[in-house]
Amino acid sequence: MTELPFGDAFFGLSWLDAIIRIVIIVLLMTLVVVYLTYGERKVVARFQMRLGPTRTGPIGLLQGFADAIKLLIKEDIRPRNADRWVFEFAPYLTFIPVFLVLVALPFARDWGVRNLALGMFFVFAVLGLNIVGVLMAGLGSGNKYALLGGVRAAAQMISYEIPLVVALLAVAMVAGTLDLNAIVSMQDTRPFILIQPLAFVIFFTAMLSELHRAPFDIPVAESEIVGGYFVEYSGIRWSMFQLAEYASLWAFSIFGSAIFLGGWQFPFGDDWGWGWQLALTLIKSLIMIMLIFWVRATLPRLRMDQLMSFCWKALIEVSFALLLVNGLFLYYGWPEPILAAVNWAGAILFLGGIYLRAVRKPSTKNLVGSYKHAEVPNQ
């Protein structure tokens, strides 16, 4: 990979330096994941007028560690008709792409594992690979629920990858580079969310889908297909899936906050030192994570056909239109405020359209059971 200069290597050795940096990031990631599981339970509990975990440690702060220990000492069960090697390797394969993404993320000025010239492209190229682990889990379990979950996950992730990538490309056009560190340092006076709000809306929606978060948690819908592709897993293998899920949640949030919210740069920049930069990165990623939890606690799950038609009939068209508009503006060199205004108009129109559609839907108030779904489009 083409690497750009990135501070001095630890001990002057490139490979040792990479290993030390990766170990630091992975340790941080483990801690973050433990507290993300706790945080999600606590936040969602508050949304539902409950208290969440309170017993383990002060206000339940040690709950994540207790859960981790319980999972590690649980029996590792493999179903008899599972495809042995496919079943056993799938959890580890889901984790590899997340691990690779962490390599390219910028945490502070000139601090990350590696600064790649094609950083943004690297992130979505390796993220595409995590479908493979999910599919292998679905195929190898020898369970029809797992198979259904795997098929759903594959269809959903392949579809939503397109708007995700196109929305990010629109931002890359404005930035003029794919180097994540350069993109962040460009946002010293204004984060890109102010110039490209529509891209952020598309990115956020597609990200929820790629992460299997509600309202797009169809592959793991416990009320429909029990647990989706990891229904047969237990103990340490199941916790590998959870680790990969929460780690990718975190990695995506840092990625998104670096591209749209200004990462370590906005609003303090170089002046306040690397401690502030790291804190800014983490705070901004926490804002993204909080938004994701909020959406999860608020919106009900979509149906499979609604999910697919939303992607193919709304998101992809809007994202290509955005690409076209950005291209026009950049080619003719029209000023940036007008580009921002057009994008804001687009974002408001898009969200307003979704809102109006939801409001103008005929009421289902006094209908019961399947009559509520009387309006299923005739396929």
Binding site: D83, V126, L147
Partner: protein
């Protein structure tokens, strides 16, 4: 030196998993081996310092094409017992013939052509700007025609796949 050692490790691994594609007992195992093989080829591109092609290889072949193969297999080939269907058939000798012919042609072409950046010359690191300019300026028309062709194929596939009973 390190790169050379890694290159040989990957070369052996790619040949091994490619053999796995051919000799695996079930189609699904073949497809999984195919993913590994294509990802290994992507890693080889990294050693050749063409990282853009390597990432495209991961994105398109690792993440999309093979997943579509797996998805199609999941929807069509899973027997009701949960056991995947084995790969046997009368077409095997013909397949072998085609594969050997293709291999002979590719090796012949690769050996007899003088490539830029051959052994003894320095490897050229191609930046993404160069690729972008070549694609959208120097070869803009072929690029657009290819795009139109893909669009037509795409619409055709949808029309064929969505044929209803009364049409």
């Amino acid at each position: 030196m390190t790169t050379e050692v890694l290159w040989w490790i990957f070369a052996v691994a790619i040949v091994a998993v490619s053999a796995g594609v051919v000799f695996a007992r079930t189609v699904i195992h073949s497809a999984i081996f195919l993913i590994l093989s294509l990802a290994g080829v992507g890693a080889m591109y990294l050693f050749l310092t063409i990282e853009f092609i390597a990432l495209v290889q991961f994105l398109i072949y690792g993440g999309a094409v093979t997943v579509l193969i797996l998805l199609a297999l999941m929807l069509t080939r899973m027997a009701s017992s949960g056991e995947p269907e084995p790969t046997t058939g009368v077409q095997a000798p013909f397949g072998a013939l085609v594969a050997l012919g293709l291999m002979a042609t590719l090796i012949g072409v690769a050996v007899s052509t003088a490539w830029p950046g051959d052994l003894g010359q320095n490897a050229v690191a191609v930046s993404i700007e160069t690729i972008g300019e070549a694609m959208f300026q120097d070869f803009g028309a072929p690029f657009m025609i290819t795009g139109a062709l893909l669009l037509v194929a795409f619409i055709g596939a949808i029309v064929i796949a969505r044929q209803e009973d009364d049409e």
